[in-house]
């Protein structure tokens, strides 16, 4: 009955500030976001350096060492399409607070990332998709099985895989929402750990509504067994939902100050 694990999403090259800091090897904006997220309750930080085709290896090593040395070896999810950059990052990664997470593998072209994780004693986010969005849960669960088998063959423990059912945008794919929640439930019933990009669900919605959509989605998904999410820990509504659900589910003990922890 572990607490819900928040993987902070805010060190992402899609943010102009982070993009610029990564390009210029400027520590300050990256560390600021790292510290804010840890303070707000992130257990892991996702580090997305983009495709990083040119200097990915050097860049990933720089950012991993930077964040871990300044933030008490906070555990990280290494997020890039560049496999060599992930491997390079793992080489300099300090495991004292948790294994690195490879972000991510899927059941298609990126399935080899499972082997990459296995070879490096890392965890891996296993996205239950191959090409595009799975048509239904039969397809999702087939991918889930395929990746689980691949991992077992490679000698991984199931608990080192975080299965991502692929959260979908509400505005536009409303009819898919319950299906995704049901996928979380099926994976949880198999005893598997789960995760997902929470803010996908609120893409395109007005800014003031995004925390509401994210918070209610995570609460319903936690009821279905969701064990972690890639989310914005600085979003107060989302964190309140997660802390409250953890408590209702008996994963943390109630105290009047529970929201302040």
């Amino acid at each position: 009955m572990e607490k819900f694990m928040v993987i902070g999403e805010r060190i992402h090259c899609i943010s102009p500030t982070i993009r610029k800091a990564l390009d210029a090897r400027d520590p300050e904006p990256i560390l600021k976001r790292a510290k804010e997220q840890i303070e707000a309750g992130a257990a892991y930080l996702d580090v997305n350096i983009g495709p990083a085709e040119k200097d990915g290896e050097e860049l990933m090593q720089w950012v991993v060492e930077l964040i871990q040395s300044e933030c008490d070896n906070v555990p990280l999810a290494l997020d890039t399409a560049n496999k060599k950059a992930i491997e390079a990052g793992i080489k300099v990664y300090n495991r004292s607070k948790g294994k690195p997470i490879v972000n991510s593998a899927d059941a298609g072209e990126r399935i080899d990332n499972i082997n990459l994780a296995a070879a490096n004693d890392a965890m891996v986010i296993a996205l239950c998709a191959s090409e595009g969005i799975p048509a239904d849960n039969d397809e999702r669960m087939m991918y889930c099985q395929q990746m689980l088998e691949r991992a077992m063959e490679a000698g991984m423990e199931p608990e080192d895989l975080l299965f991502d059912p692929l959260f979908l945008v509400i505005k536009g794919m409303q009819e898919k929402q319950v299906e995704v929640l049901e996928a979380v439930r099926m994976m949880s019933e198999m005893g598997l750990k789960t995760t997902g990009g929470l803010s996908n669900v609120s893409n395109g919605a007005p800014k003031e509504l995004r925390p509401v959509l994210d918070a209610y989605t995570v609460a319903m998904a936690m009821m279905c067994g969701l064990t972690s999410a890639i989310a914005n820990p600085c979003d107060k509504k989302v964190m309140e939902a997660i802390k409250t659900c953890d408590m209702i589910l008996g994963k943390t003990l109630y105290a009047d100050s529970f929201l302040e922890l």
Partner: protein
């Protein structure tokens, strides 16, 4: 297939807290498994047992118990020294029963003098217990904390009503350890630790007194509360509950009827002092297996029995 021993692993562990100073300092806590589950992992420091003494001649104590301390009861420092020299407890709990406004109502200044003399007479760690009157204890603890600066005593205890003063004087100003006391209330136990943290008291300086009960007097509730606290501390890695636990046993067990009833009133129950020791030992042993890291008893025989119990339970050959 060969038998494979499965060990229960937890993600959290109970912090180690050191009481006292110098060679005789004792560490409590440090376990990362359930109490005495040495087959699962590290049981930390063996539980420590302290003897209770009081700052006045304890009129309400059993005559046979007072007889043991004949000649030293009038002088608390002599009493402390006698107890240490003859019975080798792990620590001394000095309880200021005489400061109680409903009793002798001794002044804070008198208590400070007593505390200083006791601290000078013994080199074991001291646990300073109060009157249960929150206003008096607040003043008493603040003054004793100042007078005993450097001794690293455990102040027993800070409660919801007075934690700010007791925490600020005891831990922040004079660097002692503080026991956060709640009355068998798991949510308040956690909350009081959080409030202490918010006051600035470090977890390393905190111990919990989560309440006490004699066996047969709501003990199951105490035991289940301790279980849940330890399971949250270990299993959920809840840092707000990873303090070692101290449980005062004597103040509960000597007043229940099994201990207090006279042999005239209950001729079938046998020796009253034997009954009282049995109640104290039964409760102390039950509290120990429920997870207490330090226990306070009154009778030297209870102390000796518990020390034997601990060394037998945690000694070699049990793994």
């Amino acid at each position: 297939m060969a038998y494979k021993k499965a060990a229960k692993k937890y993600s959290g562990e109970i912090r180690e807290v050191t009481l006292g100073s110098g060679d005789k300092a004792v560490a409590i806590g440090g376990k990362n498994v359930l109490p005495i589950h040495s087959f699962d992992g590290n049981v930390g420091n063996p539980p420590k047992i302290g003897l209770e003494i009081v700052d006045i001649v304890p009129e309400d104590w059993h005559d046979d118990l007072k007889k043991i301390y004949d000649g030293v009861l009038e002088d608390t420092a002599e009493w402390a020294k006698f107890a240490v020299d003859n019975f080798a407890p792990d620590f001394i709990c000095l309880r200021f029963a005489g400061a109680d406004p409903d009793g002798k109502n001794k002044s804070v200044e008198e208590c400070v003098e007593t505390a200083k003399k006791v601290a000078a007479a013994v080199d074991l760690p001291l646990v300073i217990a109060g009157t249960k009157n929150v206003e008096k204890d607040e003043k008493l603890f603040s003054a004793v904390a100042e007078a005993l600066a450097g001794e690293n005593v455990l102040i027993l205890s800070a409660r919801e009503e007075n934690y700010k003063t007791v925490g600020a004087a005891g831990a922040l100003a004079y660097k002692h350890k503080i026991a956060a006391e709640t009355s068998v209330d798991i949510n308040l136990a956690k909350q009081l630790n959080i409030l202490m943290n918010q006051l600035g008291v470090q977890n390393e300086d905190l111990v919990m007194n989560v309440g006490s009960a004699a066996v047969g007097y709501g003990f199951e509730y105490l035991s289940s509360t301790m279980d849940r606290i330890i399971l949250a501390a270990l299993g959920q890695n809840d840092s707000t509950l990873q303090m070692p636990i101290i449980t005062p046993v004597s103040t509960e067990t000597w007043t229940v009827k099994e201990s207090a009833a006279s042999e005239d009133d209950e001729p079938a129950w046998g020796s009253s002092i034997e009954r009282a020791i049995q109640m104290e030992v039964a409760t102390a042993a039950a509290v120990l297996v429920s997870g207490a890291d330090a226990i306070i008893v009154r009778h030297p025989k209870s102390l000796a029995t518990m020390k034997t119990f601990i060394s037998n339970m945690l000694g070699s050959g049990l793994n």
